[in-house]
Structures are given as C-alpha cells and as structure tokens.
Amino acid sequence: MLQLALIPLLCVASFIVLVTAGRRAREWAHYVGIVTVLGSFGLSVATFARVMSGGPFSHTFAWVKLGSKTIQLGLQADPLTAVMLLVISIVSLMVNVYSIGYMHGDERYHWYYAVLSLFTAAMLSLVLANNYLLMYMSWEIMGLCSYLLIGFWFEKEEAYNASKKAFLVTRVGDVGFGLGIIAIFATTGTFVFRDVFHAAEGMAPALITLITLFLFCGAIGKSAQFPLHVWLPDAMAGPTPASALIHAATMVAAGVYLVARSFPLFELSETSLAVVATIGAITALGAALIAVVQLDIKKVLAYSTISQLGYMMMGLGAGSYVAGMWHLTTHAFFKALLFLGSGSVIHAVHSQDIRDMGGLSKKMPITTWTFIIGSLALAGIFPLSGFFSKDEILAALYHKHMWPILGAAILGAFLTAFYMARVCFVVFFGREKGHHAHESPLVMTVPLVILTAITVGLGLDARLGAHFFTEFLGEHPEPINLMIALGSTAVALSGIAVGWLVYHRRAIPLGTVKKQRLVMYATTVLRNKFGLDELYEHYVVGAFIKFCDFCAWFDRTVVDGIVNGAASVTLVAARAAGWFDTHIVDGIVNGLGFVVMGAGKRLRYAQTGRLQSYAQWMYGTLIVIILFILWLTLRGGL
C-alpha cells in the first residue's frame, strides 16, 4: 500500500511545500518538483517490475460508512496501471526539467511548479485507483490543475477565458461521468472495478449501455472529443510545457484510459462501442481538417492531439483495447516531444504564428531534427512508434469491417501527414525571417533528445515492444497486416509529398488555389472551426445568460413582489385586528396580535432611526421573553 500511495503522495508533498513557501521558493522550486517526480518515477519502475514478475496487486480500505453500506477505496497496480505510471512519470519528469529553461524568470515560477506537482499527483492517483470514485476525484482535481495552468498568465484575457471555458466544458462531460458512477454504485453497491465488472455480468444490457454511455460523456469532455472538443485549442493559452504534459500527453488521454479501464463494461454493449468508434472517427477527421488551416503552431498541435485522441477512441470502439492503449502510449511521448519542440521554437522567435518562422533548421538543429522525427512518428512512418500503433488501430477497424470509420481513419492519416509536413517545411526550411533565433539551452534540448530516443526506441523495438505490450496488457497481438501497413505508409508518404510540393517546392501556387471559390468557402468553414464555438457562445451560453437575467428579474419582481404585497396587506389587516384585540380573549390570537402589533410599532421606530429606541426594544423584548418563561414556570409550580 505504502509503495503505491507514495507515488502520488511525493508529488502532493511537493505541492504543499511549494505553496507554503510561496515566493520564497522562486529560486529553488524546480529542485523540489524534479526530485519528487524522480522519486515517483523510481517507485513506478519498481511497481512495473513487480507487476511484471508477480502479477497485479491491490489494496483496499474502508473509506466511509453510509447506513449499512461501506464505501471501499483503494489502489491497485496491474499492467494497464504500470504502463500509465511510466508514461506519466517520464513525461512529467521531462516537462519539469524543460520548464527550468522555458519558465525561467517568470513572476510566478514557484506557483507553476506547485501546480505541475499537484497535477502529476492527481494523474498518478487516477491510474492507481482501483475504483471509480477515487478515479473521479483525481479526474476533477486534474481539471482544477488544468484550469490553473491554462490561466497561469491570468492577467491576459485570452488566458482566463480559456481556463474558464476548459473547466466548464469538461464539467459538462463530468456530469455524465458522475451520473455513471452513481448508477454503478446504486446497481452494484460498490465502486471497486473488479467487483463492478463481476456484478456487470448479470446486469440488464440496457442498463450497461446507459452506464457506459454516461461514462463515455466524461471521456468526451476530458479527451476533447466532438462535440466537447472546443476547449482544447483555447487551452493553448497556457505555458507550452504545461500544454505538453496536460493537454497532449496525459490528462487529455485520461478519457481514453477511462474507456480502456471500463472495457469489461463497454465490451458488453455493442451500442456503446459503436458510439465510441463513431465519435472517435468524427473527431479524428474533423480535427485533422481544421489543423490544416491553423496558423498558430500550438493550435496545429492541439487539433492534432484532438484528432489522435479520436484515433484511440476508434481503436477502443473497434473492440481493441490494446490498439487504443498502445497508441495512447506512443502518442504521449511523440506529442510531448512535438509540444516541447514547438515551445523551443516559440522561445526562440517569440511568436506562435508559423508565418513568423522559417529556415530555423540551421539555427536550431537539435530542435529541428527532434521535431521532424516526432512529426514522422505522428504521420505514421515506418519504423517509428507511431507507425505501429496507428497500424494496430487500422487493423482492428479492418477486422471489424467498420468500413466508413476505416475510411475516415485513412483520410485522417493523409491529412495528418500533410499538416505536419506543412508545419515542418514552413518553420524549419525556406526563407529565414530575420529574427535572431538560437538553439535553446541544454535543460530544454536534453528532454527533447530523450523523448526522441523513446519515440524511436518504442518503434525500433516494435515487434518485440508490441508483443510485450499486447501480451502484458492481456491480449494476443494481431499479426501485422501487410496490406494495411503498406497502404497506410503510402497514404502518409503521399500526404508528406503533397505538403512538400505545396510548401517547399511551391510547385502548386497557393495564391491561385486560395482564390478558388470552393477552397475559399472550405477555408472559411475550417477557420471558423465548423462554427461550433459560435454556436455555443451565442445560442447556448448567451441564451442561458438571458434566461438567468429573466430569473433574477422574476425573483425581484414577482416572487419578492408577492412577499412585499402580502406584507403590506397583512400590516393593514393586523392594525385592524389589533384594534379589535382587546375584545378577543383567545390566548393564541392574542399572542399573534401582540406580536404583529409590536412589529408594526417597531416599523415606526425603525423609520425614526433613533438608535436609542433599538436598544430599548431589545431589552424590552428580552424582558418579555423572560417574564413569559417565569410566568409559565410559576403557573406550573402552583
């Protein structure tokens, strides 16, 4: 238990130390962050080894008792957890180191490291949880960290709007997640995965479909799937290394992890799997299309992340748990690499617009070549890791005969290769734009090199790796389907070739193409992100705020109006009643009349505003109450 609990708790300790120290930690915050995450990494490796040799293990304790039911929480380590632990701790470590350079001199440096630590802790405990409740709690705390990091430069309007949007949009999904786990507990009486899956075997199919779709709502929000993907591109307002960790490698993959973790449930519902695959396909294709027209290097990567998360969902929806998780793993490393690479570029040219960049390959060789290797992995070029994991997804779709979704995946693969080629050729080659860019310091380039090594390594070792990985995760590997492998490579290469022709050779004159009516129309639609943001802003949020205005008006005017009206009527009536008071002997009515009369008099005193009268009334009332009690006491005693 302690070994597992320490993995996130080390990072929690870092958070507490840094928050308590406040500004004093500005000089040494990174040491605390790096040392603790290094400790978590060490423990993760130990856990991985233990799971490999001794199989999964878990610890459970009673958290709370409600009525006669006990809610159990606990931690576990199984292959899935072990893999995730390594992914998270490695990427977090890289980002912690990289940030020394990137965040150097920032006013809130200590706060940045504090939140980074809290995030790492939450993400680690998410994958360690052996139950839905702890998972949900970690999930939400990650949401908080995401909010804090997106809005890290909170003086900027862009940043605070994006952070609020991210939290609220993901929370829409979390409503579903919350309802899902409530329904799970109400039906099975437990949150613990193993017991839930066991109980699920006897459940009504409709109920399982309901529960899995509820859970999937959470995944849609967190993993930025259509139609709740709108927060992720805006989230790029945060510091780039934070984007690499949270909005590329780990947190956004939590939705995929949720589906993978709940796979025993999803497998029981064909409907839910179909929904997962379809949403994944729409997202993968739609986001890839938008990425093609983005001018901000981080936004290209953000849409690419959305798109790749869609691929993972497609893999899961095709019933291949391994395909989804394998792609999550490879993507975590190469996308973190790409984000950190883009950060290195942004750091050098002080702009995020690719039109401000060009010819950087000579000045920033390390950044350039690591970025290009990452791009090739993303495009799915043999023998890099991305090739194998994407191939696994395509194969799964093929075997399930999900043709329309396979079609979307292949088209998406072409677009992916194309938009990455566009970024690479525009940023690193071509004409220089006259800025004094230089290679980033070692703390930034070393993480790039390490992540590149992992990206290449996971690929070089792919046959072995995939086998190991698939067997480790409990499925038999699919034999590589040569037709799909060759086909997807051809698609990716043609995407790169078109990118090369358009953006490097300038063989196709962009100016004339852009003037074509159809192209103009398409560009507008894509630049507007299919109009979804506008739809939400005006017709959902805007309309809702109008409704709230109405509620507030209704409250002041109607509800309170009735109260005030009733009060004046009563006051008049009470005065009349008070006049008759002496003629009525009944005790209750007497009391009532007395009180109302008293209040009426007070009203007049209050309006005179004489402070002295308040005090008199206070003591007067007190005396009346005491006399009343005395009277009762005496009457009873006699």
Partner: protein, 489 residues
Amino acid sequence: MKFPLLTAAVFLPLAGSILIAALPDQEGRPRRMAALFTGATFIITALLYLGFDRGASGMQFVERVPWVPSLGMTYHLGIDGISLPLVLLTGLLSFLAVIASWKIDLRPKHYFALLLLLEVGMMGVFCALDFVLFYVFWEVVLVPMYFLIGIWGGPRREYAAIKFFLYTLLGSVIMLLGILMLYFAPGVRTFDMLEVARHTFPIGLQSWIFLAFFAGFAVKVPLFPFHTWLPDAHVEAPTAVSVILAGVLLKMGSYGFIRVTMPITPDAFANYAPMLAVLGVIGIVYGACCAMVQKDMKKLVAYSSVSHMGYVMLGTAAGTAASVNGAVIQMFNHGCITGMLFLLVGLVYERTHTRMIDDLGGLSLKVPVLGGILAFASFASLGLPGLSGFIGEFFILLGTYESVLAKSFVYISTAAIVLTAGYLLWMLQRVALGKLPEKLEGLVDINLREASTLVPLMAIIVVVGIYPTVMLSVINPSVTSLLRIAGVA
C-alpha cells in the same frame, strides 16, 4: 453528576452577553470578552465532539430536569450525531465571527452582546429536546439578528431587518401552532420531543402538523419560493452576521425537518417528500441561475446558499441512508464554505470599499494570498472533490438515485453542478483575475488576524473532503436509527 456540558455550551454565551452589556464600555473590552466567551464555548463544543460515543445512535450528554411537570415541560437537552456537527459549527463560527468583527467601532458593547445572544439561541435550538425550549431558543435568535442587521447593516438595513424579522416570525408562529397541535393531541400532553416521537398520529393530523412545521422551517432554510428575505438580509448585514446567518441560521430550518418532521410525522413526511424534493431541485437550479447574473458579490453568495440548501432539502426528502447522511454533512460543510466566502467578501469590501463585481478585478496580482484563498473557497463551493463541498452533494445525489424519487431529480441536480461552477468561476475571473483597476493599486494582503479566521475553516474543508469519516462516523449511527424510526429504511 457529570459536568453539564450542554448547559454550559448554551448559557456561557448568555453569561458573556450579560457581562458585556453590564460592564462599562472600555476600549477593546467588549471584543476581548466576546472572544473569551465564544472561545470557551467553542472549546466546550470541541470537547463534545471528542467525547462523543461514535458507536451509539441515541442522545448523548443528556440533561433532563423536571421544569413544569404539570404542563409536561422538562429542561431537556441532548445531542446526537445529527445535532453534534451543527453544535460544533455554531461554536466555531461564532468564535470566528467575533474575531472577524474586531474592527467594529459603532457601539461595540451592544454589538458583541447581541452577537453572543445570537449564539445562545442557535446553540439552544440544536441542543433542545423539549418543544418549549426549542421554540424559545428559536425566537431568541430573531431578536439579536434583527438588531444586528438593523443597526450595523448597510444602507437599506431597516427594510432588510424588518423583512427578515416578520418573515421568519410569521413562519415560527405557525410552527408554534404545530407544537400546540402536538401537545393537545389525544394522549400526548408533553413537550418532550423524544416522547412525542413515540406517539403515532393519524395521517390527517400528521399532515396539519407537518404543514405547520413546514411554514417555520421552509422560511428558515429557505426553500423556494420563501427565500427572498435572504438576499436582502445578506446584502445589508455586516460580514460576521452574514457568516452566522448563512453558516448556522439556515441550518435551523433543515435541522428542523430532520429532527422534528421526519420522526414525529413520518407518514406526512413521506407524502410530502416529493413536494420537498421538487422545491429543493427548483431551488438548486433557480438559485444558481439567479446567482449567475448578480452584480453584488454578497448577493451572489446569498443566492448560492439557496442553491446549496436545495441539495440539503433534496437529500432530506429522498430519505435514504446515503442521502440523509449527505444532507447532514452538507449542512456542516456549507456552513464552513459559505461562512468562508462571506468572510472573504468582507475582506474584499474592507479593502476596496465595493462589492460590485464590475468594479473589481485582478486582485490576485496585488493580493495573491487573498485571491488564492478566494479561489480555494470558490472551488470548495463548486464541489471540487478533495474538498468538503463535494462530499455532501455527492452522497445526496447517490442516495437520491437509490431512493423512490424519480431519477430526473438526480439528473437535473447533477447537471446543475455546471451552473455552480459557472457562476463561481465567472465571479472569480471578474474579481481576482485580469487587470487590476487603477484605483485599487494600494491594496494590502491579508494580515494575521484575518488569516486566523480563514485557516481553521480551510483545514476543516480539506480534512472532511479527504476523509469524511471524521464527521460521518458521528452522523451515520444517528441517521440510520432515525430512518428506522421514521420507517423509511
């Protein structure tokens, strides 16, 4: 005979109040005396918490002395796991309210005497097991509250004070009718709450009694549509009084529903439960919608109370072990969180002399600690897991899903967490983030005294949020036995 801790908890503040009122007003004396007496009272409530037998479900620390035997009145005090959290809350918030009022310079003697008198009433309501005592303490609360708002309040203080007084008085007078109906019911002739609960009343009578109590409790909670006194009272009340009002006073209503109507009129309660649930859910959504567009921070927090207390009523109405446990712990948690929010609004107002959200901004740049704590309280209020606000709401929703109530109640109230996050984050953004208006350049961050009112609440919010058993081990046995008595479980 054991030391009568409950009597001490109830009457120590009274002794303090009288002493403060009697002694001449010297510089700083009233507030020091008030701190001393509320501090001692808080220690007593802490002792009650520590000495509480967590295995037992019945009343503990019982003091029972014949008072007026011929009328069936007894001096009967006692607490169980439902009242203990509220007693503790009263002790803590009253003490913090005194510390938060340190700078009151308008007639401090009267102010602190009234504040302590207020504590007597609240403590009494939660400890009383005799209807006469219950009613007397219930009314004792009104008087000091009336003056605290009416004298130390904002510009429209008279209107707000009278509205509060008359509205709640009207409710409680009808409640008195309920008490008398119980007393005069065949074979009762006692005011002892536990003995009354042993009687079974015919359903017709139960309904009338329930409705009479409903009037008193619903106004206090406040349930939609009886809530309009609340925003007015809060906006005008001084900071510490708002803390007490939202933190403790509202709980008298929801406590009444659980303590009185559930065991004494169980059938009527079951019949009216759907109505309570509907009003609760309307309160949740409607309160949140109204909060969304408020321009005054204090009003926003006031409406958020309407929304949060809606969850308490939903959980109470659902009547399952999880939901009622959730309702009781939500009362405690809401007291801490909303108390904290009002303290923070007060601190912002003291520095900027405005509570208008549009006039504020960028506070985190200049006063990062205050801004950070405001963010903490907002996230606690919007139900972030790991902080206590989540616990109550989650258990309420969980329990309601398991109950006989329609699932749509759960769906709607769960969806409302998006609204809660919406109005709090929007407020936070406009107050703490963005650029600092020029006229707010001279702000200073919070000092030690101010921090000392906030840190204890933060600690409780974190501890209960991570390990709610610290409170639920007290609450659960009593709730379980209450539900058995009420025949629900």
